[in-house]
């Protein structure tokens, strides 16, 4: 039995925004991604601008680590002795909160913003280029990463920054075992150590790292150096295959760790520990 319907565009494909013949819930993915990114990056941005409750001895929030400057006084601020350059200088603009998060932690934002996984996430969820596979994207002039977005090609420099930060996040984890010189541990210690471990998994699964450490070679077996790099490349490839999972879990964990330290620092909750 056959029935004909009205004439349609060539192949039955429409060219209006979001046009598709998909009958599944293709919009769920971009909506969840946009919500997740807005929630967690929004929270972390607000925390950076809050400028308070980054320190609950011996825990330092990843939002403020490592601190270049710190306020001389305030609620839950990092002690001046812990900041690389001491207290904020007097010429610091009054309209800006005195937050250590404005300095080196920004490297982490640069790393995530240019990450090959996050590009997929926000190009789909926010730029709708395209919102989902087989769904017509925004019908605007498209230049890909050839014009305004050329800066994405410098992702490896953000990687170098992230590797630098990683050292301090591990140090923060180890320092969290010592409270006034006494060895022990608390919930915050565990959170900081897990935070560093998850960020390590995310960073060493980075596509740029995978390329630089061995992917750029055409011959893995040609000499001892290449063979060693091949071994690291294979491990990086394992992490790379799980890059999206590490990207999300580590993002959520950074926010949770900061939230826990904020709560302990403000006195809203008491840290469970062995001290």
């Amino acid at each position: 039995m056959t029935t004909t319907t009205a004439r349609t565009a060539i192949g039955g494909h429409q060219n209006t925004f979001a046009a598709t013949r998909r009958d599944d819930k293709w919009w769920v993915g971009p909506v969840l991604t946009a919500s997740g990114l807005a929630l967690f990056f929004g929270y972390l941005t607000l925390r950076v601008f809050s400028g308070v409750y980054y320190w609950a001895d011996p825990y330092l929030s990843p939002v403020a680590s490592p601190p270049v400057f710190t306020p001389a006084a305030g609620a839950g601020v990092v002690p001046v002795s812990h900041a690389w350059l001491g207290a904020f200088p007097s010429f610091w603009p009054r309209f800006l909160p005195q937050s250590p998060g404005f300095f080196l932690p920004v490297l982490a934002i640069c790393f995530r913003m240019t990450c090959y996984y996050y590009r997929k996430a926000y190009y789909r969820a926010f730029a709708a280029t395209p919102p989902a596979c087989g769904v017509r994207g925004v019908p605007l002039k498209y230049r890909g990463e050839t014009a305004l977005l050329l800066f994405q090609n410098l992702h490896r420099y953000a990687l170098y920054g992230a590797l630098f930060l990683l050292i301090f996040l591990w140090l923060d984890g180890f320092k969290a075992f010592f409270f006034h010189g006494h060895f022990g541990m608390g919930v915050g210690t565990v959170m900081l150590m897990v935070n560093a471990a998850l960020l390590t998994g995310y960073t060493f699964g980075c596509h740029s790292w995978r390329h630089l450490i061995g992917g750029k070679l055409d011959c893995f077996s040609c000499d001892g150096g290449s063979r060693a790099r091949y071994g690291i490349w294979k491990k990086s490839s394992w992490l790379n295959a799980r890059h999206m999972q590490f990207a999300w879990i580590s993002l959520v964990w950074v926010a949770l760790t900061d939230f826990y330290i904020w709560m302990v620092s403000s006195g809203a909750i008491k840290d469970l520990n062995t001290w």
Partner: protein, 247 residues
């Protein structure tokens, strides 16, 4: 046997329409079986390209309920019992008739890519490669050239940048040559200037639709974009090249 409804686009590059067909579908059928049954019972002039019916020739590419898929690998029991199945030709290429599109543009892109230029043979007269050196390339050799990745790539599909970007299939081919341990040809500059690596914005639809599960984005496109970064955008690499003269 259960009756199922299909809406198949019929027409050519001047226009066409969806035509509805109802047929009885048996257990274990795939969409291509249904298209053949419709040809037998209702529309002997329905055009559909196919060959192996085993997911290895890449001929029966079509869009099934809006997703680029192989007709022979899409099982009917993957749809709901009342679901109407809409079948369209690929969007990224001109329609010849009904479900058959003209994919010759792809073969033209293939010809533009400089072929393998092997290094000199060893003293014993042989080329030798170790398995770990060709693992990456062998993944790319799984490609069956169904062009589903080309069809779902929004650069080609929506923005019609066929003159700017060769598409994921040929980024895979470029990767297979560039990573080849015996190859001596340099295609990195062409990758950016002629083959348009910068037009890809990594939205990964090509990887999602690949019936051979090739890691197109992670294993081919991004590594090639990173080689372009080495050559063109990395200021430190540029400095070292200028000082030490090494590519």
């Amino acid at each position: 046997m259960a009756e199922r409804t299909f809406k198949i686009w019929r027409g050519n590059n001047d226009g066409g329409e969806f035509v509805e067909y109802k047929i009885d579908v048996g257990p274990g059928w795939v969409v291509l079986d249904c298209v053949h049954r419709i040809q037998q019972q209702h529309a002997t002039d329905l055009a559909c390209r196919w060959n192996c019916k085993a997911g290895k020739c890449g001929s029966c590419s079509m869009e099934i309920n809006g997703k680029p898929r192989l007709g022979c690998m899409t099982r009917m029991n993957s749809f709901g019992p009342e679901e109407v199945i809409t079948i369209q030709p690929l969007k990224a290429f001109p329609v010849i008739k009904d479900l058959v599109t003209d994919v010759k543009w792809n073969y033209e892109q293939n010809k533009r890519i400089p072929p393998l230029k092997p290094k000199a043979r060893g003293a014993d007269g042989h080329h030798r490669m170790m398995q770990e050196d060709v693992d990456r390339v062998q993944e790319f050799r799984k490609c069956i050239e169904c062009f589903l990745c080309q069809d779902t790539c929004h650069v080609l599909r929506d923005h019609e940048k066929h003159d700017k970007f060769v598409g994921p299939r040929f980024m895979v081919r470029l990767a297979s040559l560039e990573m080849h341990p015996l190859d001596t040809e340099d295609r990195v500059d062409k990758m950016r200037k002629e083959f348009g690596s910068g037009w890809c914005n990594i939205t990964r639809c090509c990887t999602e639709v690949c019936p051979e599960h090739i890691g197109i984005t992670d294993n081919a496109i991004i590594p090639m974009k990173e080689r372009v970064v080495d050559r063109t955008y990395d200021p430190i690499a540029w400095f070292f090249r200028k000082v030490f003269g090494k590519k």
